[in-house]
């Protein structure tokens, strides 16, 4: 350190300088980050806030949804625990309360729900185009409902937060809300969404939630609750809207140059190119140790590999099988028998885990099958609409029609739907939820040699959340003994 003697003149200049900048000297707003004080003022701000609510879907669907929706079920499996201890626990029904995938699921969904609640709470005070205001609210209510629907199906009772938490102390007062009340909120949100969302958007806004998407998810909510007639009529509203239809070629449903097609009601949007918005499924689903043979760029993780059981579940001649999965890959001239999902491959991905595939949350085929199921649950009919609905799907798959002769009663039709849903919607995060919703999970998996305790139909509440607030947040039955 050196010391210099300044001239008196110079030092007085500095005195003046330092005094003159004194006021507000301590008020320092972040330079490189937007902050909540200055944001949420304009219509453009609110649009950004709504977009951020959608963005949470990527984190939610990137891993936890397929792990719960598919890996848990008989559709897919983890072949090597090196692919991830957390996934393997879930696959083997040995899920522990500190499982990382579940705590991510919990955290990501509540981050998304906060983004929705923030829009709802803050948009009221903003003067902006009223039509857009209504639409923005409806969009985030759709998203909030979808997230609570996924949460309630995974964890059972979950804390129902419908406003932005601005004081962290408040978050300690929320206990787990009974499933029925959560569903009430989901239905209220979706009902508002279906009334206030447009049926379609202009080119720039394709991918936003539509009234059709809200109706479709609502049909699934009703189906999950066993409200058959409500489910049937919501599905019918989607069908009658004439906005949707089955594509002729099953392959085109998942084609990366055919996103948000006529068969799609709602997709999680992805875009490759180093923007942080690429989809990871191309690499996540490629077999472990396959190098980049299947994934093209970057390694495969093997976190969602089809089982022998689903391979055998496709009827001979089913066109969907070869589009959906492969039995293995060629390593040079050697065939490696390691099944993988083909629906979400991107042959031209930008980088590892940066592909272009959208994720189908709800497809028209699902709506047709929901309608058929809801009708059948209200009473079997030999032939007619239920058979037609199912056979539309089968026809596209290159399969022969099912007939009342071979599907003679309600129970048989149930199984026909279960089978058709399984192969039509394979690897799209529906199988586990379907098995649970139809009360078939324990029975079906037991027949395949997987004995599960009934309490494992719900997943454990993340232990961290209980530990943070033990007198308020409780564990699901069965898991405390773990």
């Amino acid at each position: 350190m050196k010391k210099y003697n300044f001239s008196i003149k110079y030092s007085f200049a500095i005195i003046l300088l330092s005094v003159s900048c004194k006021s507000d000297f301590l008020d320092r707003a972040p330079i490189s980050q937007t902050n909540s004080v200055n944001f949420y003022k304009t219509q453009a701000d609110m649009l950004n806030a709504v977009n951020a609510a959608y963005a949470s879907l990527q984190a939610e669907y990137n891993q936890s949804m397929y792990t719960i929706g598919e890996v848990t079920s008989d559709n897919t499996e983890i072949l090597d625990a090196q692919s991830g201890i957390d996934n393997t626990q879930i696959d083997d029904f040995k899920t522990l309360t500190n499982n990382g995938i579940l705590s991510s699921m919990w955290n990501y969904n509540y981050t998304g729900i906060l983004a929705c609640n923030t829009v709802i709470d803050r948009i009221q005070a903003i003067s902006m185009d009223e039509t857009l205001k209504t639409r923005y609210i409806a969009e985030v209510k759709f998203l909030r409902a979808l997230q609570y629907f996924n949460m309630v199906r995974t964890f059972g009772d979950v804390p129902l937060v419908v406003k932005e938490i601005v004081d962290v102390q408040e978050s300690y007062t929320y206990a787990r809300t009974p499933v029925d009340e959560v569903y009430k909120q989901i239905i209220a949100d979706l009902t508002e969404a279906e009334n206030n969302l447009p049926p379609i958007y202009g080119d720039a806004d394709v991918g936003r939630a539509t009234s059709g998407a809200a109706k479709g998810i609502l049909a699934k909510v009703y189906l999950t609750q066993g409200k058959w007639s409500d489910a049937a009529s919501k599905a019918q509203e989607v069908i009658s809207s004439a906005k949707y239809g089955l594509l002729d070629d099953y392959k085109n449903v998942f084609a990366i140059n055919n996103k948000n097609n006529k068969e799609s009601l709602f997709e999680v949007q992805y875009k490759k190119g180093g923007y942080g918005t690429g989809s990871p499924f191309n690499n996540a689903f490629a077999p472990r140790n396959s190098g980049s043979i299947v994934s093209t760029i970057g390694a495969g993780s093997g976190t969602n590999q089809p089982t022998a059981d689903i391979s055998a579940a496709y009827e001979p001649g089913d066109l969907r099988k070869d589009i959906s999965m492969a039995e293995g890959y060629m390593n040079g001239s050697t065939f490696v028998a390691s099944r993988y999902i083909k629906k979400f491959l991107d042959p031209n991905l930008f980088a590892g885990n940066d592909a272009d595939n959208n994720w189908p949350v709800l497809r028209y085929a699902d709506v047709l099958l929901m309608r058929a199921e809801a009708l059948n649950e209200q009473g079997y009919s030999a032939g007619g609409e239920t058979f037609d609905l199912l056979n539309q799907i089968r026809k596209r798959a290159g399969l022969t029609d099912i007939k009342p002769a071979t599907v003679p009663d309600q129970a048989a039709f149930r199984l026909a739907i279960e089978q058709e849903r399984r192969v039509e919607l394979a690897f799209e995060d529906h199988r586990w939820f379907d098995l649970v919703r139809t009360n078939r999970a324990v029975e079906v998996l037991k027949a395949k040699g997987e004995t599960i305790q009934p309490y494992r139909l719900l997943f454990p509440i993340p232990q961290t959340q209980i530990d943070i607030n033990p007198s308020v947040i409780t564990q699901n039955q069965g898991y405390n003994e773990n």
Partner: protein, 620 residues
């Protein structure tokens, strides 16, 4: 070009492992740093006793780093050739301080008074830039122009601090000393209502040895009692922790493949009530010097209460946030510090010894409104717990009581639903005859019982020898690297204790090591995601010969013959011997940084080096 091996096709889930020598030699990482510190002051005396002083200080700092990952270096599971990539980063920062002080000092007979009042302003700003590029055609040109830029960003951050200070020093005859001071600090890091903190303190001393009645006690040349009480503040947190920040959360909309759209969503919660962390401290001490300073002794006692701790605390994530910076809790630190130094021998052969010993007790007195414990997560969820009545950041998990030998033993002792022979048997802490999450307990903490150090200096003629011994006693370390080294799943190399594992009830091994397996039960040894158990916690006590230095100064007449000023030959050795039961590399280190909620974890930290230095020092 050198030839290296990359291990391929290892099985067990490993397709390749990169050669570490190659990684070290071929990967490029350059850092350059430039720093300029400067202080200037001007002083003006208005009156004989009254002066004004202006002090201006600056600290300029520039740092740049370049990395290049060439095509020849792969990573584990991704053998070369890989696509080369590179990055460039820079940080420019400045920190200036302006201090105005007015000083008045006077002597009135035996009274001495010194009064100071002042005002300081300080501002720091740091600007960072980073660029990354990939798709380099080859390894020849390593600057970013040769690749395709994949990301670039610049960021800035700043903080400011204003302080008003006042201090009065008074002493009477150099015997009675009193200092009172007060400062009012304002920091930009706190919420608008809580930016300012007021921190007074007072201290006093009595140099008993100056009293007339001590004149006859020849053995005592210095005896002083001193004590102080006061408040201090702490603002060592992020620059914007009180502000609710939003983050870019971009998404995609639009036909024909979609277009990126901007999204901005909440990432941290506002806390306008965030304010200063406060320390309230009492000290009392004694200084004693005997026999003209041949022996000195100091003893100090302190008692410090820290309140409104600035902690980033895990919060219910149903809020949409996983952590929040809060003023929470109250912690007590209480302890003793002793120091002694002695000139044992004087004359041709000299020997002096300095010794210090201290102990500290840390205890949490209060936590948030409900008093619930705060958990800390380092790599593993809930690896630490902060609980009232315990030290901050205690290790938390299951206590291993043994290994289940037989199925009967599992059935007859507390167990989890899927406990099995060969797995750990944990202690039933909750005494409910079964094992559950309620059986997690505190397994140790980083607080030592005491620490000590001793330096001895010897000299004889031109020879000098000194050595420093340091020791820490009674702390624990979380050897979390054991998640991998003692993970007997066959996926990687393991510690040799694997040889003593349980194989069957008839071949139980050493009774401490569980069986090998790849199952996913948390009770096995092999589950990397398992909770912390007492097998991760080790005694961290150690004694270390921290340094030895042996030197020889050439006799002055020899040096003069060589026309030199001085010549010294020396040998320094650092960290020569460490005595410790700790099984990791170094009991002295922690990989967790400064987070007080998750201290004391060794997660594969780099071992400490033994350093041998031989030197020749020539003065002209």
């Amino acid at each position: 070009m050198r030839i290296y091996t990359t291990a391929l096709g290892l099985g067990n889930g490993f397709s390749s492992l990169e050669n570490p020598v190659k990684v070290a030699k071929e990967r490029v990482h350059h850092d350059t740093e430039f720093r300029l510190l400067g202080t200037a002051f001007a002083e003006y005396s208005f009156l004989k006793n009254l002066s004004y002083k202006l002090l201006v200080g600056t600290d300029l700092h520039n740092e740049r780093n370049n990395t290049f990952n060439p095509s020849v270096v792969g990573s584990d599971g991704n053998p070369p050739p890989v696509i080369p990539s590179a990055s460039y980063g820079s940080t420019d920062s400045y920190n200036w301080l302006v201090e105005h002080t007015v000083n008045y000092s006077t002597e009135l007979g035996k009274h001495h008074l010194d009064v100071l009042a002042g005002f300081t302003a300080q501002k720091a700003r740091s600007d960072g830039a980073s660029i990354a590029a990939t798709n380099f055609p080859n390894d020849q040109v390593q600057t970013l122009n040769a690749g395709v830029v994949s990301s670039a960003s610049t960021t800035g951050a700043e903080w400011t601090l204003l302080s008003y200070i006042g201090r009065i020093n008074y002493n009477y005859e150099g015997k009675y000393l009193v200092t009172a001071s007060i400062r009012r600090d304002g920091s930009s890091r706190f919420g608008s209502n809580r930016k300012w903190g007021l921190f007074p303190s007072i201290s006093g001393g009595w140099r008993i040895s100056q009293e007339p009645f001590m004149k006859d006690v020849e053995a005592i040349n210095e005896l002083k009692l001193r004590s102080s009480f006061g408040y201090t503040g702490n603002n060592f947190i992020g620059n914007y922790d009180h502000v609710g920040l939003l983050a870019a959360k971009n998404y995609v909309f639009g036909a024909n493949g979609g277009t990126l759209v901007n999204g901005i969503g909440p990432s941290s919660i506002s806390n306008e009530e965030l304010g200063w962390e406060k320390n309230k401290q009492f000290d009392a001490g004694i200084e004693l010097g005997l026999w003209q300073g041949r022996f000195t002794f100091t003893a100090d006692y302190y008692h410090k209460i820290t309140s409104d701790l600035l902690l980033s605390v895990p919060v219910p994530s149903l809020s949409g946030y996983t952590t929040a910076r809060q003023n929470i809790g109250k912690v007590k630190n209480e302890g003793w510090e002793f120091g002694a130094s002695s000139q044992n021998l004087k004359g041709n052969f000299t020997w002096s010894t300095d010794f210090n010993f201290s102990l500290n007790r840390n205890k949490v007195l209060a936590l948030g409104p409900s008093g619930e414990p705060i958990f800390g997560n380092y790599q593993v969820t809930n690896s630490h717990i902060t609980e009232i009545g315990q030290p901050l950041g205690s290790f938390y998990g299951y206590k291993v009581a043994g290994i289940y030998q037989t199925a009967e033993e599992v059935a007859n002792s507390p167990h989890f639903s899927d406990s099995a022979p060969g797995q750990f048997r944990f202690e039933d802490v909750s005494k409910d005859s079964r094992l559950s999450v309620d059986d997690r307990t505190i397994l140790g903490n980083v607080q030592p019982d005491f620490i000590y150090g001793m330096t001895n200096n010897f000299s004889y003629k031109g020879f000098e020898l000194s050595f420093l011994i340091q020791g820490v006693q009674g702390n624990e370390i979380m050897n979390l690297g054991r998640r991998f080294y003692a993970n007997f799943a066959g996926t990687a190399n393991a510690l040799k204790e694997l040889n003593n594992r349980w194989r069957s009830a008839d071949d139980p091994g050493d009774g401490k090591t569980p069986r090998v397996n790849r199952d996913l039960s948390k009770y096995s040894s092999s589950n990397a995601s398992a909770n912390i158990s007492s097998t991760h916690i080790e005694d961290g006590s150690f004694v270390r010969l921290k340094s030895i230095s042996l030197g020889y100064n050439l006799p002055q007449n020899t040096v003069q013959k060589l026309s030199l000023a001085n010549v010294r030959i020396y040998l320094n050795v650092q960290n020569l011997v460490t005595i410790s039961k700790y099984t990791g590399y170094n009991p002295e280190v922690s990989s967790t940084g400064i987070d007080p909620l998750t201290p004391g974890v060794d997660y594969g930290v780099y071992p400490i080096a033994k350093v041998f230095t031989v030197g020749l020092n020539v003065g002209f």
